[in-house]
């Protein structure tokens, strides 16, 4: 296992820098792989480490929101409305007296779930699969994939996502209702599950294109590399060449684009909810909070309300962008 991973990685290093002592042909890794070297370089960047620490805090906070939140996100208390931060309510309370800290935490949970599902389980595998196949096989298949990709790119992204979310959602809700009736799934619709599914689906449907094009261009370049030729000469099968030799080598830029894509997905989820077609109240979402607190009358009276959801969203996106920036330095041989 370790052997098959290190072999192509040494190859990437060799093709990019012309460093000949890491020749991949033998298949025996020499000490550090490209991954551990990249990881070392990343850890030496203070900004990258900071971004990773912040991201872990935000993601852990979001995932464990049910355990961490001191209140119920929907518990209203009219005696404590629009309060400034205090010991009982560390981030204050909103216009229904709900605890802001709890709501921001649960809103983060929504955003965090959507970024992970739509990028890591949607765009990434789809883009990797389609991009690798398209670049490796070329010809008609490649042509078809690229043309379909162009159609997606010709759409204004946000408009397509809005259109998808607005038109597909009622059908998903219907299906969820039917599922509730058929099996014994109580509260599937009220849990907001269809909302999550629709937002995830429409983001993933759009995000695979960029990933596939990126992977394809990498594969096109790697396909002609010497270590692929030698693998072919050694009699490796197409699948082996694709999975063992080409795919791992194309991952550097992909990791950079995943990092940037996570920030973008977070932004899109918040936009959708901001527009009122994402996660529906009473399920807490940062986009909805920003919409409500961003109106001029609330801003005038309770400007403190908007600060925490805004901070949560911007820190999340900023941290992903910083990490992506650092990663692209790490993986780009020219900027070392």
């Amino acid at each position: 296992m370790a052997r098959s991973r290190q072999e192509p990685l040494g190859g990437a290093h060799q093709t990019e820098t012309g460093d000949t002592d890491a020749l991949p042909v033998s298949g025996f890794g020499h000490g550090l792989s490209l991954w551990s070297r990249a990881w070392d370089r990343l850890l030496r960047k203070r900004i990258a480490v900071g971004a990773m620490v912040i991201l872990s805090i935000l993601y852990l906070g979001g995932i464990f929101a049910p355990l961490l939140s001191p209140y119920d996100y929907n518990a209203q208390d009219f005696s404590t409305r629009n309060e400034a931060p205090s010991l009982a309510h560390p981030l204050g309370t909103d216009w229904l007296g709900r605890d802001q800290f709890t709501r921001v935490l649960w809103g983060l949970r929504t955003t965090v779930i959507i970024t992970v599902t739509s990028v890591l389980s949607g765009a990434l595998p789809l883009g990797l699969l389609i991009g690798t196949a398209s670049g490796y096989f070329g010809g008609k298949f490649d042509n078809a994939v690229m043309r379909v990709g162009e159609i997606f790119l010709a759409f204004p992204g946000l408009l397509l996502v809005i259109l998808l979310a607005a038109t597909v959602k009622p059908r998903v809700v219907d299906m969820a209702r039917a599922l509730e009736d058929w099996g014994n799934f109580r509260g599937l619709v009220s849990s907001g599950f269809p909302d999550y599914l629709v937002v995830f689906g429409s983001l993933a449907a759009f995000a695979w294109v960029g990933m596939a094009r990126l992977v394809r261009s990498q594969v096109l370049y790697l396909r002609q590399a010497q270590f692929v030729d030698s693998a072919r000469a050694a009699g490796a099968s197409t699948w082996r060449i694709m999975i063992v030799h080409i795919l791992p080598n194309s991952l550097g830029p992909v990791i950079v684009s995943v990092s940037m894509g996570m920030g973008a997905a977070a932004g899109s989820e918040v936009v959708l909810s901001w527009l009122g077609i994402g996660i529906q109240p009473p399920n807490p979402s940062l986009g909805r909070m920003l919409y409500e607190y961003g109106s001029i009358s609330i801003l005038r009276q309770y400007p403190h309300l908007i600060i925490f959801p805004a901070a949560a969203v911007s820190i999340l996106i900023f941290a992903w962008n910083l990490l992506g920036d650092a990663l692209s330095d790490v993986f780009n041989p020219r900027t070392r």
Partner: protein, 310 residues
């Protein structure tokens, strides 16, 4: 190169057809009936049937689509449903102008801030200023429009009381144009700084810059006449062509600031299921995206002789 351009141009109509088909399909099979939105709760089945027949909404899907495309090619984009029969073409034309003004001001702000900062940072490479400016600009470009907008409103309108909150008088001299334009410019400022920085660094390493310094030109003259002028070429090309991406920022910005432009129209028509307008909007944006992409590809090929299209 020539065959490449011809190929791309021949493919464009099919691309637009595909885009229009998907949009038409989604808006027709989506939930919510535009006639219901139009008539509100006082709808009468007879009236609904009459309006449907009048607008050809009772015909089969493909016939409706075919008719739409035929009319669109002949310059008739149909009539808005929400704005009671106003031709979509006219409706769009008035809004496009408003959005264009906003976009131009946003772009000018972006260039005016981004280019000098990019040059400055490139010349200070290796000092603390370089990473500082780059990361601050990255921070501002990470802020979504719906976060910067309320904060700018809070500071400039509520605390400093420098300008009225929102609205639109329709001319460039209106101070109310500045805030939304700034909101839209913020994301592009970072991109311009980084582009300008990279391209200035590349020019600074060239022989002719050393030659200009060697013949005793002042640093000002070297920077303005030799470095900036050459470094600007790729930046202007990319920025000029990325105007299309400003459209997305316009959706939210125009909605927040109450500006009657294309972005606001798009959001409004989506909620009103006013699909003749949605169709026209999507096509308009698709055309501009496709043209911009084509121009960028061609521009790159001319600027960078290493790129070959076959």
């Amino acid at each position: 190169m020539f065959t490449y351009i011809v190929k791309r141009l021949l493919w464009t109509p099919f691309l637009l057809l595909a885009v229009s088909f998907i949009t038409f399909f989604l808006s027709l099979y989506g939930p919510g009936d535009p006639i219901q939105v139009l008539l509100g709760q006082h709808r009468d089945p007879d009236v609904v049937a009459r309006i449907k027949a009048q607008r050809g909404l009772d015909r089969p899907f493909l016939e409706q689509y075919g008719r739409y495309i035929w009319n669109a090619v002949n310059g008739d984009l149909g009539e808005s449903i929400k704005f009671r029969g106003q031709p979509v073409g006219e409706l769009l034309a008035s809004k496009v102008w408003t959005s264009a003004k906003l976009a131009v001001v946003a772009l000018l702000i972006g260039l005016a801030v981004g280019i000098p900062l990019g040059i400055l940072v490139a010349n200070k490479q290796g000092t603390a200023l370089d990473p500082l400016v780059v990361s601050i600009s990255l921070f501002f470009s990470s802020l979504p429009v719906f976060i910067t907008a309320p904060f700018l409103l809070l500071v400039f309108v509520i605390w400093l009381k420098l300008m009225p909150s929102a609205g639109w008088a329709g001319d460039m001299a209106d101070p109310r144009l500045l805030l939304p334009a700034l909101v839209m410019a913020l994301p592009s400022i970072s991109a311009i700084i980084r582009l300008m920085r990279a391209s200035t660094l590349e020019v600074l390493g060239q022989e002719f810059v050393r030659a200009a310094r060697a013949k005793g030109l002042t640093e000002m003259a070297v920077q303005s006449r030799h470095v900036a002028r050459n470094a600007l070429i790729p930046v202007i090309t990319v920025v000029g062509l990325s105007l299309g991406t400003l459209v997305e920022g316009a959706f939210i910005t125009e909605t927040i600031f109450g500006i009657p432009g294309v972005g606001r129209l798009a959001v409004d028509s989506l909620f009103a299921r006013d699909y003749p307008v949605i169709m026209a909007m999507t096509l308009l944006i698709a055309v501009s995206f496709v043209t911009a992409n084509l121009l960028v590809d061609i521009a790159y090929a001319f600027l960078d002789p290493r790129i070959r299209y076959s």
